[in-house]
């Protein structure tokens, strides 16, 4: 009966083009059988559910598999009596336990108690993989890295992304200095798409989360507000484990959205509890952030022009330049007309920023009965930012339950998150950006003198007559921003076992949020908008997934072959509804609502897209050899009907060498290899040209023009990414040392590129299918139990990765594509054919044939006029070393993190050269400079630059990009933590079952960096324009204390 049904299923699968294995089923010969029962517990003697228990004969011919129920009990039936079995138990995050030579005797007395230890080494680990399928690492033909929750939530870090920095080989976390509420950037194995999203898909308990930034400050133009991303709403205390799926093979089942990798988060559940037990956990943490001042400006000369002190208030207000006289302490007029001593003000950073504080409290209630377990948690976070009047609040309520009754399993997850932020700041640009003001204040102006920022009429007290830069106290006290995001996400999964070898599973996943934002600038601002202005946004975003899977769990065929397979379909639907109203100026003073705007413009926006998919998965193990085949077909609504679909397969193989053939010091060895393709679609509405109405009419006449600034493409195709991966996993000296080595090579073709086009085409961009790029690299992970006794242990984890990116094609005739441009206009991030992604480009000195610098008639250096390439803004080598020392109940952890091979352009240093704040502008202040080089014709040329003309000399120098592009490599002490776990004997008898205390510090100091005045980790944006540092939030050093209690 069984074999026939199997054939039926296979025929069905074959009919829908999933590659399959042919095999024939053998039926086992019946003889004397008995069952083995038992229980699996953890080190605290708590029952463990969901543990895979397997019995196999010495020859490996017969294999019996079972799983523990919610009470930790398992049962293996039909084992042959009188035969010796090897029994193994394995579960996520635990070391596999092996019982050798277990002889099954007749009757019902076969019972076993197995204890599992939390795993340190990974070779026998079970990990969560795509679609929440648990797999043993050794059966995987690709690399999966997993981090236990304690690594994320023990070390209190400001965000989830920064907690991952330095923890996974090949994971690059950047843009992490912009506060708790700001957006972050993570990439896996380099840049995957030339202009598409390059950040991984985040999946929390199987729910894909919309993590895209609502809007991030851009590196180009005037900057903007960083409104954060979708990940600020995850409570680190809820995390059980994080799995990082870096390669295509591991992520293939998620389809197009996973073409940049997947980060899977599994939250805690009640399954780890003993039956009929209820546990209460509390966790509290307090973190304080202090600004690190990396600046080292000159404090010898003050505000002024042509070497003179400012003569009048009008003169002061004309510029913030520091081309004045030597700071001599004599009274000098300042921005407000008052006289103050002409002395250097070195403490503006310290004086303006305050220390930031974050307080987190989380409570969880979890419990378990025979059939069901649950966890309910609530957490609250309150943050006050380093910038006055700025902060962020978050409340999260989560519910997670698992129920298994007979053949039916029901899993439900429901999360409700409320986030609200106050006064998110405009960063990156030159106005309304307090960070820009602080950096560019004249050397003799004390920021405290700018208080309160407004006069008695509510008008800004200007630093310049144009109002650039903006008075920072006007920004923090009068300008306003407030946003709230309410998010509900959840899933309901039903699984029914139709037969022992056949199950059906259906899931509904929803991620919905409602977002409201309002920001305004009151009347009285000098620069813009005169009379004040307001912007109000609301959006509703909903993403649904409907999924249906039919499959067979692991089935033994013959003695050594095990097979499992499933087949399913998914519908992904996303809808965005937005409303915006903005306008200017306010009619009634002091009323800051849209209703009070003299002129207001309402608008709405809408976007929908859908991806329909079919996918299948076949897995087979035979004597240490594991083979996994997957296939997926996606249909994209965003692509033209005739080319909207693509099938992409994956195959992976893993082989564990038999111990008998290994040298004694090598405890295990495994080789693995895989090939996989993943495709990707486009954004909605990129296929046709559209005309839009202007918000204004002209005497009642409507005005219409082409609304696209990007040339639409009616012939778009899906992009395709193909990756080969191979590696070895070695266990040495009884697994005391674990080593993973991986090589991968990924090629992205027909990439959907939003390429820059000549503005003379009438458009600034065009969507084309012409991109081609490769990422090749190695990843190495070394884990060692250097020293291990009962009372003292030392573990270390070393990670190294190297990724070589090369852009092969940007389309016909296109060799360069602009990603971003600095506000100063002299630095660009371009993608260049034949080079690694994201080249920082700009001007060099113009030189004559002999290599001499060319100066103009006034002695100003001349720039090259054509762009030179200074290297990529993306790191290619990442390395980290984490050490854990445990002495009895104390533990000490520190992480040294290094990144290499990227360059960064500092707008701050370029501006400081132009405005005379840089130390490099000191030469020539008193007596002028004599420059010697060549003139435009290549003749000898020596000119004296007078002190009055230094401003032109240094402004020209400031325009030469080359002078401000630095090696962004660094090595820093990223984390240091000290933990204490109270011994059981102290707390036994109290209600407390576990107590841990930790003291943590992040971003302690740099061992090595090459960027004067700035932090090398201060990219403006979390988008692809990496390598430009404008004035963003200063980096902070974070120190925190946390307490965890279980009752």
């Amino acid at each position: 009966m069984r074999s026939q049904a199997f054939t039926w299923l296979l025929a069905a699968i074959r009919g829908i083009c999933i590659p399959c294995l042919s095999f024939c089923a053998l039926s086992a010969r019946a003889q004397g059988t008995a069952e083995v029962k038992g229980m699996v517990m953890d080190e605290h003697n708590d029952a463990l559910a969901g543990v895979t228990v397997q019995a196999r004969t010495e020859t490996g011919r017969d294999v019996y598999t079972g799983e523990t129920d919610s009470g930790g009990l398992f049962r293996l039936q039909h084992l042959r009596t009188g035969v010796n079995y090897q029994i193994t138990a394995s579960s996520v995050g635990y070391e596999m336990s092996v019982v050798k030579n277990y002889q099954v005797s007749d009757g019902k007395s076969n019972s076993l108690l197995i204890k599992l230890k939390l795993s340190n080494t990974r070779l026998n680990e079970v990990v969560v993989t795509a679609l929440n399928i648990k797999r043993n690492v050794k059966n995987l033909g690709y690399l999966v890295e997993s981090i236990s929750g304690s690594k994320v939530n023990d070390i209190k870090s400001v965000s989830l992304e920064s907690a991952l920095s330095g923890k996974v080989a090949g994971l690059d976390a950047s843009n992490i200095s912009n506060g708790v509420a700001g957006s972050k950037r993570i990439t896996l194995r380099g840049i995957a798409s030339i202009s598409g999203n390059n950040q991984p898909l985040w999946v929390v308990d199987g729910i894909p989360i919309n993590s895209t930034a609502i809007s991030s400050a851009t590196a180009s133009g005037g900057g903007g507000i960083d409104f954060g991303d979708g990940l600020t709403g995850i409570n680190p205390d809820d995390i059980e484990s994080i799995t990082v799926l870096k390669g295509n093979a591991s992520a293939a089942l998620y389809g197009s959205r996973a073409s940049t990798g997947v980060i899977l988060i599994t939250t805690k559940s009640g399954s780890g509890l003993a039956k009929n037990k209820v546990q209460v956990d509390y966790s509290g943490a307090y973190t304080t952030d202090r600004v690190i001042d990396y600046t080292d400006w000159q404090y010898q000369y003050g505000q002024g022009t042509t070497g003179m002190k400012p003569q009048s208030q009008q003169d002061v207000l004309s510029s913030i330049n520091n081309w004045g006289a030597r700071l001599d302490g004599t009274p000098v007029v300042q921005f407000d007309g008052k006289m103050r001593p002409y002395v250097g003000q070195r403490k503006n950073i310290e004086n303006f920023y305050r220390s930031g504080n974050t307080l987190t409290n989380a409570v969880a209630l979890s419990g378990r009965t025979t059939y069901t377990n649950f966890r309910l948690s609530a957490s609250n976070l309150q943050n006050s930012d380093i910038i006055p009047n700025t902060g962020y609040k978050r409340n999260i309520f989560s519910f997670h339950s698992e129920t298994k009754y007979n053949r039916l399993s029901v899993n439900a997850v429901l999360n409700y998150t409320i986030e609200s932020a106050n006064n998110r700041q405009i960063i990156g640009g030159n106005y309304s950006n307090v960070n820009y003001t602080i950096v560019n204040l004249p050397t003799n102006v004390n920021v405290l003198a700018l208080k309160p920022g407004v006069d008695s009429n509510g008008n800004e007290i200007g630093i310049t007559s144009q109002g650039i830069p903006t008075n920072p106290y006007f920004v923090t006290s009068r300008m306003h921003e407030q946003d709230t995001r309410k998010r509900i996400d959840g899933s309901l999964e039903l699984r029914y076992d139709l037969a022992r070898w056949l199950y059906a599973k259906g899931r509904i996943l929803e991620d919905y949020y409602n977002y409201n934002e309002l920001d305004y600038t009151p009347a009285g601002v000098i620069w813009y908008p005169k009379g004040g202005g307001l912007n109000q946004n609301s959006r509703n975003n909903a993403e649904e997934n409907y999924e249906m899977i039919v499959g067979t769990p692991t089935e033994r065929i013959g003695t050594d072959l095990k097979v499992s397979a499933f087949f399913g379909g998914n519908i992904y639907n996303s809808e965005l509804n937005g409303m915006n109203i903005n306008g200017t100026p306010f009619v009634i003073k002091g009323i800051y609502t849209a209703n009070n705007l003299a002129v207001k413009y309402p608008s709405t926006s809408y976007a929908q897209q859908r991806i329909n998919s079919l996918f299948g998965n076949v897995e087979a193990d035979w004597k240490g050899l594991s083979v996994l085949l997957t296939g997926r077909q996606d249909w994209f609504s965003t692509l033209p009907l005739n080319s909207n679909s693509l099938f992409y397969p994956s195959a992976s193989v893993s082989y564990g060498l038999d111990n008998r053939y290994l040298p004694a010091w090598m405890s295990s060895a495994r080789v693995r290899g895989s090939f996989a393709e993943v495709s990707g679609g486009a954004s909605p509405y990129q296929l046709a040209l559209s005309y839009g109405l202007d918000p204004n009419n002209y005497n009642g006449i409507s005005l219409q023009s082409i609304s696209n600034t990007t040339v639409p493409n009616p012939n778009l195709k899906p992009l395709l990414s193909a990756e080969y991966e191979g590696g070895v996993d070695l266990g040495l000296f009884s697994d005391r040392i674990g080593l993973n080595l991986t090589y991968y090579s990924r090629r992205t073709t027909q990439d959907i590129v939003t390429t820059n086009v000549s503005v003379a085409s009438g458009y600034s961009k065009a969507v084309v299918n012409l991109g081609e790029m490769t990422n090749k690299g190695i990843e190495a992970t070394l884990r060692a139990d250097v020293f291990s006794t009962n009372s003292f242990s030392w573990n270390l984890t070393g990670l190294f990765s190297y990724n070589r990116n090369e852009v092969l094609s940007l389309g016909n005739n296109i060799t360069s594509l602009q990603v971003a441009q600095s506000k100063t206009g002299n630095a660009f991030v371009n993608v260049e054919k034949g080079m690694p992604y994201g080249q920082i480009e700009g001007y060099t000195f113009s030189r004559d044939v002999k290599g001499r610098i060319v100066y103009d008639a006034s002695g100003n250096p001349v720039h090259s006029g054509t762009l030179s390439k200074f290297g990529s803004g993306v790191y290619d080598k990442l390395a980290s070393l984490g050490n854990t020392f445990t002495i009895k109940n104390f533990s000490l952890y520190f992480l040294v993190d290094g990144k290499f091979g990227a360059r960064i352009f500092s707008e701050e240093n370029s501006l400081a050269m132009a405005n005379g704040k840089s130390k490099l502008t000191l030469p020539g202040r008193e007596n002028g400079l004599t420059v010697s080089g060549a003139d435009a014709s290549g003749n000898d040329h020596t000119v004296k630059v007078s002190p009055a003309n230094l401003v032109n000399y240094y402004s020209n120098l400031a325009a030469i990009t080359q002078n401000f592009v630095y090696d962004a490599s660094f090595v820093k002490l990223r984390e240091l933590s000290f933990g204490y776990s109270a011994p059981q004997k102290w707390i036994s008898g109290t209600a407390i079952s576990r107590l841990t205390l930790a003291l943590t510090a992040r971003n302690l100091f740099y061992f090595y960096k090459n960027t004067p005045n700035i932090d090398p980790e201060s990219n403006t944006t979390s988008d692809n324009g990496q390598g430009l540092a404008a004035t963003v939030y200063p980096t902070t050093r974070n120190i925190g204390v946390s307490l965890k209690l279980s009752f």
């Binding site: 009966m1 026939q4 049904a5 069905a12 699968i13 009919g15 829908i16 022009t305 042509t306 004309s318 056949l502 908008p529 005169k530 399913g568 379909g569 809408y606 897209q609 859908r610 329909n612 249909w635 609504s637 009907l641 679909s645 909605p684 509405y685 040209l689 559209s690 005309y691 839009g692 202007d694 918000p695 204004n696 002209y698 005497n699 006449i701 409507s702 005005l703 219409q704 023009s705 082409i706 390429t755 000549s758 503005v759 003379a760 085409s761 009438g762 600034s764 065009a766 005739n813 296109i814 060799t815 602009q818 206009g825 002299n826 371009n830 100003n860 006029g865 054509t866 762009l867 020209n956």
Partner: protein, 489 residues
Amino acid sequence: MKKLISIRVGAAALALVLFCASCSKNFQTINTSPDAVTTPTLAFVLPDIELSILDYTYYCNVSILGQVMNQMASYGSNFSTLTIGGSPEYHFTYQYGGPVRNIIDFISKTKGQPLLVNSYNIGRILRVYAFHSLTDLYGDVPYFQAGEGYLEGNLQPAYDPQSKIYADMLNELQDAASQLDPGKPLPQNDIVYQGNITNWKRFAYSLMLRLALRINKVDPANSAKYANLAYSSGLMQSNSDNFVVPYKPNTYYATISNGQATPVVYYNTWKLAEPFVAFLRDNHDPRIYVYSVLPNGDTAAAHQLGLPPNTPSNQVPLPIANYSTSPSTTFGTYSAPFVHLSYAQVELMLSELALKGVINGLGPSDAPALYSNGVTAAMNELNIYGGSYKLTPPAITAYLQAHPFNTANTDSALSQINTQYWVETHYNFYEQFANWRRSGYPRLDQTKYTIPRRLMYPVSELSINAANIQAAIHDQGPDQITTHVWWDK
């Protein structure tokens, strides 16, 4: 049992196959924006083009050209070191990304349709207008392939030599003007000429005259040919023929406002330059109160004072409140009408062409009358700023009598004509700068700084359209302000 399982599996498989069959259902609808309008409404497009053909940024026009032409001055400004990037590229970026592509799309939507012949040819005339300011400012620019990113898929248009652009523009004007037909349907919502085809013809030929005069030195034959053609076909006859776009007070979105007013409206540091104020003041020009006012509202001619051009802030002699600026009732407001081409300009150009004997039937003896007509029209034209800016005939006559046209000395006559042209084109600095380069008048002080001969191309073109722009730089000369464009010999 066996049968039941077969049915279950079969049903599951069938469900998946059915799912597959409907995998692209509704995709066309889903991927169509609810806001999508794929066919333009021409009656809404033409007014948009007419309003937007003037840049809404002031960076090129006022900040650079207004200052180098010594009519505008910014407190503490230093324009002697114009570098690549930033302001000089705005006109290029704005024109191609806005009016040019909309005009080219408008032409493509009206082409070959007998009932739309007037709209089509008006589109062609506006296309020439947009391009003549581009090529005059930058020299060789993309022309034949420009603005066709969507229509032709040309994402990297070639740069065309200015000589070929001029030849085609003149030809286009001739052809388009000749096809305009008052008997065919008139364009709707024409906010400049209200669909009056005669006005459009006169505008086309007046623009032809401007182009013909521009190439007078470099290509005398074609200059004469088209000047005569324009003259004989019907030029602007009075100020009611002027190509003037009226604007509205400022709003959050700038389309309907005159963005050139921004500096004066927004900054108390933007002033009139002293050479301009001095010319009006010292010559007792009756127009001075239309152009110049002190921040305290004083319009008395003798009190007006301009800011010295290009002076470092600590060398400005007086507080900023002592310097004159544009009145908020005339040029210094977002609702200021913008004069693109006027009857006054036509008469002044004819006066110069008459002096040079280019036009058949007009000789040097006709020049004084044409000059007087031009100056008179330039003064009368100012009533577009309202009834209080109507100059009286005696005031105009007195001014003309005080400054008689000097035909005896050609240099002096050319100086008078083109200095009046310089005054008349206040705020239309694109045209003023081109005419100054062509004529050399008025003589501006160039001892302290270099006055550009063109502006630099956008930096982005160097990387995105590299081969084409390098070819242009090779043909035309280095991408610098000192390089002369083709007609500027």
